[in-house]
Symmetry: C2
Subunit: 401 residues, 2 copies
């Protein structure tokens, strides 16, 4: 890492051309015509459009099969079938969690992602092995990828004795966030699970991020229980609900009332904007000031053959799902993959202003919307002031075999 990196002629968010000076991993100056000093590393950016580092706020770094031989998919489609299939396949296939998470991080860097919130499975079959593998990757990439780990009880908490204790250990050992999953649908004990989740959060002083796939009124019921605990335990601003399909399903009066309460409690939402399921409306969230962030979820894993770790592609899918066409709307889709993700993760110094952490992604397009709709190869990715990828390829030492 050089002391100073001077980036010449780039357009921040598609604005007028400027130069950006980076010192000590931070944006030191933004101005036209910054003069280079002897010894500066200089990058000529040819008027490329610069985005802030992309944020994948809902990932599963322990699940990907990226870089492994093709795994044919034929498991059933129920959540329970996919959970059980995966737990078994982790044994059958050689799914080393440190290697696989590192492969995904390497890939994500090449696409311009500089921060990831990863749920990591904690279960009584695999113990803390998956958490430890991802924690190893977090350590290895600490300078260039900000990774949060959610201790995620993928196989259920109440139905598999010993899971709560394992989560407790993971949180003691460095997991950042308490996860949860379908308190009715998977655990069949919403009170038991949510008391355990919020109990762990209180004990460790850590936030919560709960997967909620439950449909319709069942999902709304579980969501109400989550909001009740958020309120009564003064967890305002520390709770994320991921997916929340029910907010795209129920009648508008029910949905709007829940969104109002979500806004009042400072609860965040994470979406993957799936095309095959209803989703919370990004516009309805924005109107209320709710932070709604996006994530790629699992990429090429035992659940799904899709995904490539590109958060510009996720922004496109958010845009398509929400029927965003106007330029301002497409920028909202991009926000879910940039600043709203940063807001949910609580990233310090995020943005494209002097003083911010120097995370920049350069793409050769004219307009901001094009970055989303065309998802061009990333010309240059800078993370924490370091050049980590060029022309779509992650550079050494951030490559993973």
């Amino acid at each position: 890492m050089t002391d100073r990196l001077l980036m010449k002629n780039l357009r921040l968010m598609g604005g007028a051309p400027v130069d950006v000076l980076i010192e000590n991993g931070r944006i030191a100056q933004i101005a036209a015509g910054i003069a280079a000093r002897v010894g500066d590393a200089v990058e000529l950016c040819d008027g490329a459009l610069a985005l802030p580092g992309l944020v994948d706020a809902h990932a599963h770094l322990d699940k990907t099969l990226w870089g492994m031989p093709w795994h044919p998919h034929d498991q059933g489609k129920s959540l329970q079938q996919m959970i059980d299939t995966e737990r078994a396949l982790r044994h059958e296939l050689d799914m080393d969690p440190a290697r696989q998470s590192a492969r995904q991080v390497t890939l994500a860097l090449s696409k311009g992602t500089t921060a990831i919130r990863s749920h990591v499975d904690i279960d009584t079959d695999h113990g803390l092995r998956l958490f430890e593998g991802v924690a190893e990757t977090r350590q290895r990439f600490a300078d260039v990828m900000q990774i949060e780990i959610v201790a995620f009880p993928q196989s259920g908490m109440m139905i598999r004795e010993g899971t709560v204790e394992l989560m407790d250990r993971a949180l003691r050992d460095g997991a950042d966030i308490v996860g949860g999953l379908d308190p009715c649908g998977i655990d069949r004990d919403p009170k038991g699970q949510l008391d355990a989740v919020f109990g762990l959060a209180e004990k460790h002083g850590k936030p919560v991020d709960i997967h909620l796939h439950e449909a319709g009124e069942l999902g709304a019921f579980s969501l109400d229980m989550i909001l009740d605990r958020t309120e009564s335990l003064s967890m305002q601003g520390k709770v994320t609900v991921s997916h929340a399909f029910c907010l795209g399903m129920n009648d508008p009066a029910r949905v709007n009332a829940q969104l109002d309460r979500i806004a009042a409690l400072g609860v965040s939402l994470a979406t993957t904007a799936p095309a095959s399921r209803p989703v919370p409306s990004v516009a309805a969230c924005r109107e209320r000031g709710i932070a709604i962030c996006a994530g790629n979820d699992g990429i090429r894993d035992t659940w799904t053959p899709y995904g490539n770790a590109c958060m510009l592609e996720r922004a496109m899918l958010v845009g398509l799902r929400n029927n965003f066409r106007a330029d301002v709307e497409v920028s909202w889709a991009l926000d879910t993959c940039t600043k709203d993700g940063a807001r949910v993760m609580g990233l310090e110094g995020y943005g494209l202003e002097a003083g911010c952490r120097a995370d920049l992604v350069l793409v050769g397009v004219e307009a901001l919307s094009e970055a989303v709709t065309q998802r061009p190869q990333r010309r240059l990715v800078v993370s924490g002031g370091q050049i980590v990828a060029r022309d779509g390829e992650t550079l050494d030492p951030w490559q993973t075999a």
Copy 2:
């Protein structure tokens, strides 16, 4: 074009490696270890996976702004607003239909598309100018892109006097198919419009392809009227309904009865698998033997900023919309962009067998699903026996400035 093109070591649809000999634009032989003769052009394919030429069965070649300066989107979202905006912008912007359609065809070739059914606007404002421009492109690319033109009354038939006469002229002058559009929603005269559409079809002996965006029971009503005319006029096998969102909206009993009738009448469906609207189920169509094909619809035009002419990406969107995860399901998504499109267009000699027209697309992936989920750059595209694109770039003389 050389007389013989020998492609060595490729895997048809991911099967065992073979060699493919192409003579006179056709696949002459498929076998292991075909010996090259002196003078043969030889392509070493390194075990790449070969797909048949991709088929974009619902496009709008006269609409794209591809290659033009970025056009900010801020029009309203109603169908009528988008129609009116476009008609005006065609004048304000320099949307030359021959140039723009050629640009899209050049782009589509680079992505492996070798056949396109394009709706082309016919209206009293622009007359036959758009049709003539696309017809010029059809002529220019005749050797390498099979283009069908639908005479499409985008602005309405009954509400704009003179439109039916213009369509009549277009069909006389070489348009292949009679188009139509929301007989209730746009024309407010379903009997009048459909009698005119089917009257033109009868007069010119040409098939029909009708855009049907109408929702719920209204869409089902218009669909019934289309099916009635298909039956009474013995148009079995000659009618396509595009979009047909109502088949993803109504209650299952209503939908299933209509699908059964669609199957019995040999009517085809075309889908773009939008994430923000209900769609006909691909699986439900396949169960009944209904040909359901896919198209990219408009790409980067005054309606939408999305789209890149890639039919592997469309296959991915079909897969995501239908929640297709298993390998066999992903192959169904691919079918909508390959053989089902060919079936709807009635392409002669389509496929990867000896005797077929030599349209092949090579991608460097292990499994068929990966071609859809990863959409890698096309290594080589062969159309009508000619190499038209390599490493993602269309070759001369098929480039368009």
